[in-house]
């Protein structure tokens, strides 16, 4: 196997291919950090460019974008509280808090290092044990997806900061919004008022851009009067390196979790980031500090979402089943080159497979170096006066929400979400639960009903299947823990 890997490495280091990979990573970071341009979209946009290239070159360009974009989302999440990609929404929680303290450099350093750890750990798992792991992808069916979605939703109570109740109110609101659009099982339109734009429900990206980006920009308008300028410390890289020891455990754990979530088809980087954040908080010695801008709060989601990159490649390469939306496009890219991913790919095109492995390793290293070197550059954004930066964010929000589907309707959705997000900020309601509800609500609903179709209406299907039963139990524990802690604390105080 090692000799194959060296062959792949030699191929990746060929100047033209290396350059494409580097361009991919840089392009990915740029795409990822711009709100509205997601990893999926970046890969889809560059797909036609690869048609004319040799398979290795094309694949590495796309993989570079994938890695870069998943990481890049954290840059704007940390600096502007505008997650560039849904996967970075969880990073905004602690990342922006840390940046507000003048430690944006440190926050970026942590997110870069953690992303690197996530990418490398998942790639190593891909290279060494993918045939074993790939079987997990087939174990997941409707009941397991339903249980996973419920587990994801149960996180709401613990990511809601001071008031879990407010988080649940917001989460339920998000779930209600997620029922808009065609019924997943009968295609009957619900709450669409005859508007075709609503048939598929609210697009999730414009809502996210509005809730985070626009809301923050509106908030800035208010603040710009006072013009408090935060002095950013510049020793970012060094202080981040000193944090490595502190975050290493969290990052590796999150990376492994991200890899597993990546393997499951239909669950991608966004879910991985939230789950990793929640688990880091669960196992932390000081869970109450999450949300205040601590290193673990950045490292967990970033290692988790980049862990998905290697994980999602596992079922793609071994079974021909894409692990997330990006790998679905990569599947198309391989097929157009005349390559069929699946068990035969290793036998018939072993060199390509090992070039992809090496490309992922090298790509992650390039991302680490570019990210660390870029910190000084990225931070410059914050030295732009707020009365110039804020209008720029407005423009970015509009362009980003339009670009997703070339839809003007989406711009309206973004503006409305922005106003709602602003009100939430004012009333101290957390915004993340809506994002979770919009991602997981439809997943929970359609898989609940799909399971019941499969079982003939028998609810025992959720409890007799081990993975589903386990996840549902975990969900229950996750959901009640914050309330339980609250209760115990109050009781102790009373005594």
């Amino acid at each position: 196997m090692l000799s194959h890997l060296f062959y792949g490495l030699a191929k990746v280091l060929r100047p033209d291919i290396f350059l494409l990979l580097l361009l991919g990573v840089w392009g990915g970071i740029a795409i990822g950090s711009l709100p509205g341009l997601t990893a999926t979209m970046g890969v889809a946009l560059l797909l036609p460019v690869t048609f004319g290239m040799e398979p290795e070159a094309g694949m590495l360009l796309l993989l570079g974008i994938y890695i870069g974009a998943i990481y890049g989302g954290s840059v704007s999440a940390i600096l502007l509280r505008t997650p560039g990609t849904p996967a970075a929404a969880a990073t905004a929680m602690d990342g922006f808090e840390m940046a507000k303290r003048g430690e944006a450099g440190k926050a970026l350093g942590i997110s870069t290092t953690a992303s690197f750890i996530g990418g490398i750990v998942s790639t190593l798992m891909l290279i060494t044990i993918s045939p074993i792991l790939a079987k997990i992808a087939l174990k997941f069916s409707a009941p397991e997806y339903f249980a996973l979605a419920i587990f994801g939703l149960s996180i709401i109570s613990s990511i809601s900061g001071k008031s879990p109740l407010k988080g649940i109110i917001v989460g339920v609101f998000g779930l209600l919004v997620s029922t808009i659009g065609m019924d997943p099982m009968t295609s009957y339109p619900r709450f669409t008022f005859g508007n075709v734009n609503l048939l598929n429900g609210f697009s999730f990206i414009p809502v996210m851009i509005g809730l985070f980006g626009l809301a923050q920009a509106l908030y800035n308008v208010e603040e710009s009067e006072q013009a408090v300028k935060i002095q950013q410390k510049v020793e970012g890289v060094l202080s981040a390196l000193s944090e490595i020891k502190r975050i290493l455990g969290t990052a590796v754990r999150s990376a492994v979790m991200g890899t597993f979530i990546g393997i499951i088809p239909g669950a991608g980087a966004d879910i991985a980031a939230f789950v990793s954040y929640n688990e880091a908080k669960r196992w932390s010695k000081h869970p109450e500090k999450f949300g205040t801008g601590i290193p673990e709060g950045i490292a967990a989601p970033e290692a988790g979402n980049n862990g998905v990159t290697g994980g999602a490649m596992i079922p793609l390469l071994t079974l021909g089943i894409p692990g997330d939306a990006v790998t679905a496009i990569l599947l198309g890219a391989l097929m157009i080159q005349g390559l069929q991913p699946g068990p035969l790919l290793f036998k018939e095109h072993g060199e390509l497979v090992y070039t992809i492995f090496s490309g992922l390793l090298v790509g992650n290293v390039l991302m680490l170096i570019s990210g660390l070197l870029g910190i000084r550059l990225f931070i410059k954004v914050l030295s732009v006066p707020k009365n110039i930066l804020t209008p720029l964010i407005f423009v970015l929000c509009i362009v980003g929400s339009y670009a997703m589907n070339n839809s003007f309707f989406d711009v309206g959705v973004m503006l409305a979400s922005g106003v709602i997000g602003y009100i939430f900020m004012k009333l101290d309601f957390p915004a993340s639960p809506i994002i979770l509800a919009l991602i997981l609500g439809p997943m929970a609903e359609s898989n609940l009903r799909r399971s019941l179709i499969m079982s003939g209406g028998n609810y025992s299907i959720f409890f007799t299947r081990p993975i589903s039963a386990f996840l549902l139990t975990l969900a229950l524990i996750t959901f009640i823990t914050p309330f339980l802690k609250d209760f115990i604390k109050r009781k102790n105080l009373g005594n």
């Binding site: 069916s141 080159q337 499969m454």
Partner: protein, 326 residues
């Protein structure tokens, strides 16, 4: 008060950008066509199958026209948003829509503000039949055995499709309709999750396109029992058609280009000539073959015929499935 002033200015600024986005110019149609870039509306997301066909075709057609061709994705409503916009576009031939079989399924479900009569077809470039596929180690060796089992155990056999009312759901319904079998239809969010569920043994069969199961059939995990096309497929010459088995089911998806119905015939014929040349290019044929898509080039008249037939077929099936919203 000053705060609101700043806010007002920002909002004004915002809306002026919005206004800028909306304005679109357009000139009167003349016989010299094209006068400006031709835009192909793809009603599905970038990176998907329809998008790939449109981009490959646009690429092959770039020498056919004096002006460039741009592909624009207008997604939403399962294709309804993009096709509605294409139907309403200026009838001067500069806005062409990549129409798909949803053009005749969505209106029958009451989910779209258009019908196939709002379009004038230019050319059809692709057609893929439904392929009844089961696990390789399934107890059924032939389509007859499968269908006999399904008839003997009504509602037991779980057949996965790509979404309620989507073409592969209707394909399974067409098989039921012609054989008297009764399936338990399980809708998924697209064909890929349905195939994954079949691989995992969570359902018994799928009725998606051959391309969507091809890699798993070649690796020996799945087997195709029959295809719902007129002729056997080049890729799977041993798989019989339903017609050969005495079951008259020809159902599947198709893709092609269309313009709004009032577009002058001279312009339609210029577009047809240009895209026909593109569809016959080796590069396009190669692309379709690699992507596992069935190349089926037909002129506007034949394309319209197919739309008409499918429209009748699907109207009936959608009603029998209780999917029509009226």
């Amino acid at each position: 008060m000053k705060k609101f002033g700043v806010l007002a200015v920002l909002l004004l600024f915002t809306f002026s950008i919005l206004a800028g986005c909306q304005s679109q110019g357009g000139k009167e149609a003349k016989v010299n066509f094209p006068e400006k870039a031709i835009e192909i509306i793809v009603p599905y997301a970038a990176g998907g199958g329809t998008d790939a066909v449109a981009r490959a075709l646009a690429d092959a057609a770039k020498d056919s026209f004096s002006k460039p061709i741009a592909v624009v994705n207008k997604t939403g409503g399962g294709g309804a948003v993009g096709m509605a916009e294409g139907a309403k576009a200026k009838a001067d031939g500069h806005t062409v829509t990549m129409v798909t079989v949803e053009l005749v399924t969505l209106p029958n479900m009451g989910l779209a503000p258009f019908t196939y009569n709002d379009f004038k077809p230019i050319i059809q470039v692709n057609a893929d039949p439904s392929a009844l596929t089961v696990k390789a180690d399934a107890p059924w060796k032939t389509a007859e055995e499968f269908l006999n089992y399904a008839k003997a155990n009504p509602g037991k056999v779980k057949v996965g499709n790509s979404g309620a009312g989507a073409i592969w759901h209707l394909a399974a319904a067409a098989i039921e309709d012609k054989t008297g079998a009764k399936f338990n239809h399980v809708p998924f969010d697209g064909a890929a999750p349905a195939v994954t569920a079949l691989l995992g043994g969570h359902i018994d069969a799928v009725t998606v396109s051959p391309a969507e199961v091809a890699s798993h059939v070649k690796s020996g995990q799945l087997k195709i029992l029959a295809v719902a096309s007129e002729k056997r497929l080049e890729q799977f010459p041993d798989v019989p058609t339903f017609k050969e088995l005495g079951i008259d089911v020809v159902v599947g998806t198709w893709r092609g280009l269309a313009v709004p119905k009032d577009t002058p015939d001279e312009i339609v014929s210029i577009l047809y000539d240009g895209f026909k040349k593109a569809a016959e290019k080796d590069s396009f044929k190669e692309f379709m073959k690699n992507a596992g898509l069935g190349l089926e080039v037909k002129d506007g008249k034949e394309f319209l015929e197919r739309m008409k037939n499918d429209n009748e077929l699907f109207a009936k099936l959608i009603n029998s499935l209780g999917l029509a919203k009226k």
